[in-house]
């Protein structure tokens, strides 16, 4: 069993209005040293057992096709092997 | 599902003997208190039940309840579900009339609008959840009331919201306000349901306890109205829609206690809404109802399975038996107690005709929804809950419903504060000196969030989807075109919708305040050209166990009932939200009135905006100078006191009839209700709406500020083409309604010449004005009014 922890972030250079709003809120609450905030998505995907290379390829593909929009977003992920007992 | 009768018999015996070892073992296995522990430790108290209520339950059951049963009673006998303090008062409302197809008692009221069509509507509150988690609280509030409408077989066509918050100066209030607005927006927009109107008032008394009342309106064919009744012994019982999780357990009990500092800890009680699933539910349920296979259908609102099952059985006089092991769940290890009390959203209980389950399952599956048979209708009047065949709760269904719940008529006592407030005499206040000060007061009022434009709110709502919104938010009342028979040939019908209340009036005099709420709602509809038809009420009050609060409640209901009777608008349903208190401080008594009216021809409608230069401006109704309870007193003098404006319902009726007749004859270019801020604000709003100025001469007897800003009732500000003025006067004569020509439309600002009426009744000749002439450029008024709320929200 694999657990993919996927992060999807807006590409650098794409305006992130949510990030800007959170930055403003933090600063008004006195966190003056905060310089930048970017808001993204975090997803957890569990996959049935397969080889690591296969699993990586599959996660990579689902990120490209569905989980992120390559026009505005970029993604990264980590893949951890879980004990089989976690299998549902 | 089949249960052998003898097996049932045995289990029944087992369940009635609380000493039974098997049963005790069962409770221990679930780590739930046993009946004995409940008795010895008085566990019902923590659930919000009184000692005598526990005794009543034991009496009903003929034994002690187990933990699950106790929880079921605790929630359904909460004020939120059982209306223990308000039920006797509801009897005061007129509930029938020639157009009323369904009064209170079902999920929503139904009113005949001709051509085989009906309008279905109801208001509901979600105050406590919104105070704790504003986005989800408001969103699930919308979800719940929308389900009440489409379960009646009606397609939801509009939402209106009545909101009350503290001062926008307070950052936490701004957080609550913006969260609630986004919640309504997020949920309603996703459903494709236009939010077409509403109101928002701001007052410190709502700072900790905001009010979020949502009204939903649907349209149905009269022969497709569905009812929430579990008829037909042997018919299956199905659970449809979302899965059941642990969310919202005891939400109804939560809504029936006062808030305090620890309320935020109750966050798990707040449910999370899924508007996408709700949208699918709407389409699937309407399709299912149209198929004719549905006998009864009900939303699982507060107390989920327990309330829907007991109410559906209660209405039909039948029983329901269901196995909760069959109910699709989201979390593992849920106990019967949790299953029966879960308030997971977007679920329905459906009773199909026996043999047509598969057909319904197919409809729901097409919409990606689960529909599962979990039980059947029985004839023994019991709600019997099993888990894998083993009985875990068994109570008379009707005893759980409002018919079975206790009723309280606590002591009512007129609050002492009224003597002091009524003794207040506004005539002793210093008067703003000169036209500049009065002009500045008008600008202050225009910028007061209660009066200012609510554009910041409603531009977040999709108010145009469904393409029937003829007059949207910002109007006196919304107007929707009604498609259907008659389209293409002859006139197209319309319905007009409004929601209204003034808590301050009710605080100062609940009887008059209640009457005014009804009169003003009707007046709003009339200003669009609609004939008022029926009412739904949302009663928001403090703790009814306090005599002063119960007095407020009683008097307000009496006021509403008398006005509804007088104006011919029966109450077809509603909601009561009590215990709106924080740390012992109650909100203003706030009965919210939602009203629906009918336009026979939607083209014959009227707006509040001045239309054309040279049109005559006329006041229909009495000239009044009353400042008690006014927004002016609060905003300019910082005073909440006096008596609210008097209301003469006979005059009110005649003014409304006159206005309607004038609109139907095509005499009026605009009609606008004089409400908060009085005649001056009404004039300013009609100018802003039409983007044109006006010049008027305003006579007054005692004080100019009272004539400008007093909120005397039964007044409608209209504009007419000069050639129609005489006909309007004649018409008014027939209704014995005073008509006061004030001036005319035109120019780039609002000019108000103040003219004192001499004691002998002679108005000062022109030019010899007392305090002089107020002049405000359109731009200044627009600036104060339009962006005020947005300015606060940017803070």
């Amino acid at each position: 069993m694999w657990l993919a922890r996927i992060r999807v972030m807006l590409k650098k250079g794409v305006l992130d209005p949510q990030g800007k709003a959170v930055l403003g809120a933090l600063q008004t609450q006195g966190y003056k040293r905060v310089q930048e905030v970017r808001v993204g998505k975090y997803l957890e995907v569990r996959l049935h057992s397969m080889g690591r290379i296969e699993a990586e390829a599959e996660v990579e593909e689902m990120c490209r096709r569905l989980l992120s929009n390559p026009v505005i977003e970029e993604f990264s992920f980590e893949l951890d092997e879980l004990p089989e007992s976690a299998e549902r | 599902m089949s249960v052998k009768p003898e097996a049932t018999q045995q289990r029944q015996e087992a369940i009635s003997q609380h000493q039974d070892p098997a049963r005790r073992r069962d409770a221990t296995r679930r780590r739930e208190p046993t009946s004995r522990q409940i008795r010895e430790e008085g566990l019902w108290r923590a659930m919000g039940l009184r000692d005598e209520e526990y005794r009543q339950i034991v009496e009903i059951l003929g034994r002690e309840p187990n933990y699950t049963e106790l929880g079921m009673y605790a929630v359904l006998w909460s004020e939120h579900c059982a209306y223990k303090h308000t039920r006797p008062l509801f009897k005061l409302f007129p509930t029938s009339g020639p157009r009323i197809l369904q009064g209170p008692g079902e999920n929503a009221g139904v009113v005949d609008i001709g051509d085989g069509q009906a309008v279905v509507f109801k208001v509901e509150s979600h105050n406590h959840p919104s105070a704790v988690e504003p986005y989800q609280g408001a969103a699930t509030g919308v979800g719940g009331i929308v389900r009440d409408i489409f379960t009646m077989g009606a397609r939801p066509v509009a939402v209106l919201d009545s909101l009350r918050f503290g001062s926008l100066e307070d950052p936490r209030v701004r957080y609550l306000f913006s969260g609630v607005v986004s919640g309504i927006s997020g949920y309603g927009n996703c459903l494709g349901l236009p939010t077409v109107g509403g109101e928002a008032y701001f007052d410190d008394c709502y700072a900790q306890n905001p009010l979020v009342n949502v009204m939903c309106v649907g349209l149905a064919k009269q022969d497709e109205i569905a009812l929430a009744s579990a008829k037909g012994v042997g018919n299956p019982v199905m659970v449809v829609g979302a899965t059941t999780g642990r969310d919202g357990i005891h939400g109804a009990t939560f809504a029936s206690v006062e808030l305090n500092e620890r309320s935020e800890e109750k966050r798990p009680s707040v449910q999370v809404g899924d508007p996408f699933t709700e949208k699918l539910l709407i389409e699937a349920c309407l399709e299912a109802i149209r198929s004719g296979a549905v006998v009864g259908i009900q939303d699982m609102g507060a107390a989920g399975l327990t309330s829907s099952a007991s109410e559906m059985a209660g209405r039909a006089g039948s029983g329901i038996e269901m196995d909760i092991a069959l109910v699709p769940r989201r979390e593992e290890g849920m106990t019967p107690y949790e299953m029966m009390l879960s308030e997971s959203q977007e679920r329905m209980l459906v009773v199909p005709q026996k043999g047509r389950e598969e057909e319904l399952m197919a409809i729901f599956a097409r919409w990606g929804l689960q529909a599962v048979v979990v039980g059947r209708v029985t004839d023994d009047g019991l709600l019997r809950v099993t888990e894998n065949g083993e009985v875990v709760a068994e109570v008379p269904a009707r005893s759980l419903t409002t018919d079975g719940a206790p009723v309280y008529r606590p002591e009512a006592r007129r609050p002492a504060y009224l003597d002091e407030l009524w003794a207040f005499d506004w005539r002793k206040l210093p008067e703003p000196e000169g036209p500049e000060a009065l002009g500045a007061a008008l600008l202050t009022l225009l910028a007061a969030p209660t009066i200012a434009s609510k554009e910041w709110v409603y531009r977040q709502y999709d108010y145009m989807v469904q393409t029937n919104t003829v007059a949207g938010p910002g109007s006196d009342a919304a107007v929707l075109r009604v498609r259907g028979p008659g389209n293409g040939k002859g006139a197209v019908k319309g319905i007009s919708l409004t929601i209204d209340s003034n808590g301050r009036y009710c605080y100062l005099d609940p009887f008059t305040g209640g009457r005014i709420a009804v009169a003003e709602a009707a007046r709003n509809l009339v200003c669009t050209g609609a004939e008022p038809l029926a009412v739904t009420d949302g009663l928001n009050f403090g703790n009814p166990e306090k005599p002063e609060i119960y007095w407020q409640l009683t008097r307000a209901v009496e006021g509403i009932a008398s006005a509804c009777r007088e104006l011919g608008t029966p109450v077809v349903g509603g909601n009561a939200s009590l215990y709106n208190e924080t740390n012992g401080e109650a909100i203003y008594p706030t009965p919210v009135i939602g009203m629906v009216g009918l336009l026979a021809d939607v083209e014959r409608r009227c707006t509040s905006a001045f239309g054309r230069e040279g049109d005559r401006i006329v006041l229909l109704g009495p000239v009044g100078e009353e400042l008690g309870g006014s927004e002016y007193l609060k905003q300019v003098h910082g005073i909440v006191a006096g008596r609210p404006p008097a209301l003469d319902l006979d005059m009110e009726k005649r003014v409304q009839k006159l206005c309607l007749a004038a609109i139907h004859r095509g005499l009026l270019r605009s009609a606008h209700d004089c409400a908060e801020g009085g005649l001056a604000v009404a004039l300013a709003e009609s100018c802003i709406g039409g983007n044109i100025g006006a010049t008027v001469r305003l006579p007054y007897r005692e004080r100019a500020d009272a004539a400008l800003f007093g909120e005397s009732q039964s007044r409608i500000l209209v504009s007419v083409a000069p050639e129609n003025l005489d006909e309007l006067r004649q018409l008014a004569g027939g209704y014995a309604v005073p008509v006061l020509p004030l001036g005319e439309v035109g120019g780039a600002g609002l000019r108000v010449e103040l003219a004192r009426i001499e004691p002998e009744g002679r108005i000062e000749p022109e030019g010899q004005t007392g305090p002089g002439t107020i002049y405000l450029p359109l731009e200044a008024m627009v600036q104060n009014w339009r962006e005020s709320i947005a300015r606060y929200m940017k803070k």
Binding site: V14, P17 | K279, M464, Q466
Partner: protein, 260 residues
């Protein structure tokens, strides 16, 4: 002619588009379920607004994988007119039938209001009856309509005359104040290179009747009706002309596509 109105789970302007096409414009219209795999018999496809799949993940991201989208792609590739309105536009972007992507509105709030949009090109089947520079009053209602495309992409759009509508003021001037959501270059709607696939955020189906505040949106539906009528004529004449030539022929003939 016959409109296909595609219904995804969560579409909520499907009925409005159907009403506009059938009852207002007077053409045939039919709902097409998202699992359907056949668009034969239809002359124009509309992807309506709403919240397909709740807009979960990203607006339009899940709907683009619906079975019907394969057919929509095929229909578009064959030159059939496809109109994506609001959520429909977002789906076309996600499906790659139109370039660019949508971000949340600049002020992070859902916005419902009247907007003015200027017709930038009359070369598409949905703007054939418009005068270039014509201003239409059409409302918006969206939370994610902030159109994004990188600079190179924007240059391409401009070079290929793919910008169909821009937000302007009432007199047709492109101003920062008239941009309701922060879209690049005030873009309200675009088309593909061929011009037959058009997406826009404003809702023309909501402005087809004066009673609702504006009838300016009708011209978008009427254009495609006229365009298809013209195509029928062209086909009959077995003439191999591109749409622009047809358009010019019609103009010369003083036919249905006269300026409004």
């Amino acid at each position: 002619m016959k409109f296909a109105i595609v219904v995804f789970p969560g579409s909520n302007c499907d009925r409005d588009c159907f009403y506009a096409a059938r009852d207002v414009i007077g053409q045939e219209a039919e709902f097409v379920w998202h699992t359907h795999r056949d668009l034969s018999g239809f002359d124009c496809v509309i992807l309506p607004g709403g919240f397909s799949y709740g807009d979960y993940l990203r607006s339009g991201a899940i709907a683009r994988f619906a079975p019907v989208m394969t057919e929509v792609e095929r229909f578009a590739r064959a030159g059939g007119p496809v109109l994506g309105i609001c959520n429909g536009f977002q789906i076309l972007l996600e499906a790659g039938l139109l370039p660019g992507a949508m971000l949340r509105n600049r002020d992070l709030q859902f916005r419902c209001e009247e907007t003015f949009i200027r017709v930038e090109t009359s070369r598409t089947p949905f703007t054939g009856l418009c005068r270039e520079g014509q201003v239409l009053k059409v409302p918006i209602a969206h939370g994610e309509g902030n159109y994004f495309i990188d600079e190179a992409g924007l240059k391409d759009l401009e070079a290929n005359r793919q910008i169909v509508f821009r937000y302007t003021d009432a007199s047709g001037r492109v101003t920062p104040e008239s941009n309701p959501n922060g879209s690049v270059s005030n873009i309200a709607g675009i088309c593909n290179r061929q011009g037959n696939v058009v997406g826009l955020m404003p809702h023309p189906e909501r402005s087809c009747e004066g009673m609702l505040g504006s009838a300016d949106g009708r011209v978008i539906f009427e254009s495609v009706v006229a365009d298809l009528a013209g195509r029928g004529v062209a086909r009959a004449a077995n003439a191999l002309m591109d749409r622009q030539t047809i358009h010019q022929v019609e103009k010369a003939a003083g036919g249905a596509s006269g300026c409004r």
